[in-house]
């Protein structure tokens, strides 16, 4: 369970997140939607320690994440698939996936987990020796997700996994997110593709210029007039 209370984050004089509270219960898919610059990425970056908070609290399974070093957070079972993928371009696909298992003390499952990732993304298996920098955007997204899976997380944060992908690939990526969910992995999903995000989520939050303006069951938000106007282009 991830519990965020009154979180504020600023970059110098810019207040990016202004006192938000949200929670993700075990086994849920929760979506965080909002326009460009709303503060979605900042929120995820603060959860995994890449950006410091100004005030508020972030507690994950009883651990105070604001007091946890960024590189220790993955060891608590939280993986983060960052916006823009951030694959290691000069490493092969397989090396990238192995980096995902870097934090594991017990490495006896790495081979088996690799097989699992390759069954999720058969295309990566064909390209396992290729440098990740030479992959297409969609394939890099698969590497970034596979890398997160390799850390054996119980919770995954995903930042705009559909960005820049063809509709077909978006479907494929979302199918994998649902699969992970069925395996019991908790998901916090940041998306601009609000329609897809709301259709697979249990609950959702709407973030506008650093504040949460709406929250509720994803199916309710999907039919909400204001949400439809602002985010679903209807």
């Amino acid at each position: 369970m991830l519990d965020i209370k009154n979180l504020s984050v600023s970059y110098g004089a810019i207040d990016a997140v202004k006192g938000i509270s949200l929670h993700v219960d075990d086994g849920e898919i929760v979506s965080l939607i909002g326009a460009n610059g709303a503060g979605k990425t900042t929120t995820l970056h603060t959860i995994t320690g890449l950006v410091p908070a100004r005030s508020g609290s972030i507690v994950f399974n009883g651990q105070d994440l604001l007091k946890t070093k960024a590189n220790k957070i993955v060891t608590l079972g939280m993986a983060h698939v960052p916006e823009g993928r951030h694959v290691f371009t000069r490493m092969s696909v397989q090396e990238n996936l192995e980096m995902g298992a870097y934090s594991l003390k017990d490495t006896s499952h790495v081979a088996e987990d690799l097989d699992k990732v390759y069954t999720y993304f058969p295309r990566l298996k064909e390209r396992r020796r290729q440098l990740a920098g030479t992959l297409s955007g969609g394939e890099q997204q698969m590497v970034a997700m596979g890398r997160a899976i390799m850390s054996r997380p119980n919770t995954i944060l995903m930042d705009e996994p559909s960005m820049g992908l063809s509709p077909k690939l978006v479907k494929e990526i979302f199918r994998i997110i649902e699969k992970l969910h069925e395996e019991g992995i908790t998901v916090l999903l940041v998306e601009q593709n609000a329609k897809m995000a709301l259709s697979i989520a249990d609950r959702a939050y709407v973030l506008e210029t650093g504040r949460i303006t709406m929250e509720g069951k994803a199916s309710d938000l999907l039919h909400d007039e204001k949400v439809r106007k602002a985010y679903l282009g209807a």
Binding site: T48, F88, M91, Y102
Partner: protein
Amino acid sequence: MSGFVMFISQIFNGLKIGSVYALVALGYTMVYGIIRLLNFAHGDFIMIGAYTLMLSIPALAAMGMPAWTAVIPATLVCALVGVLVERLAYKPVREKGNSMTALITAIAMSLLLENGSQAIFGADYKTVPTIVSIPTLTIGQLKIDGATIVSIVLGVVMMVAMQLYVKRTKQGKAMRAVSEDKEASLLMGINVNGTITLTFAIGSGLAAIAALMYCVSYPQVSPTMGMMLGLKAFVAAVLGGIGSIPGAMVGGLAIGLIESLTKAYIGTITGGVITSAFSDAIVFAILIIVLLVRPSGLMGEPETEKV
């Protein structure tokens, strides 16, 4: 000595000094790769390594140890100085300033190390005791002295070892990850600051081994001995493609060969118009030409654009 034998022995000379450049360039390139800093103090680590050799050889001899074991304290001292320079000077500047501040800090550290050792040891050359005495290898007319053999063998072993370390080991992979993307590295659970410190320790330690290789042939130390060596190694790293480990090796050996062959033949080839005194200028001219043709160096990859 026939012309051909002379040529071969010049090749060996080039490989000997080239191995020194390659090891120093390796440290340069690793540090640049991981924090994008041209560590101008890197050449001075050779000098620190050489002084440590000078002081520890008699001390170890008194304990009945062979002189070459002095490479162990030299490596440790260099690694320690490298880590201190990084932690006390570069890290605070990296977190606060910009890349220009960092560059100026590196130049300041270089001067500090040179002036510091001058204050301690004086400005004049000091002699390093004999490190190894390996007999000269004679193949027909060709004579290769022990120092050359030691340098080339040690250089090759270190280069292969570093390549394996970076490609195969967990720490080596973490180093490559951090040099590419610090945020993603943190998300993988890599201790980024620890990895940077380790890179400095290894890079500076390599300078100590380079110092040993250098002092086997030229057993002299002075506070500024690292300046020209560091500069040549920098050229080697850029020639090979700064940030590329194989590039540093190829660049180092190439600079060594170019230098040795120009020294030997440039006078004859140009009919005395250009003398061997120009060999350093020629090294730089070749660098400029290569960079005009291949801006990212011989083995460097062009910076991949970040989205």
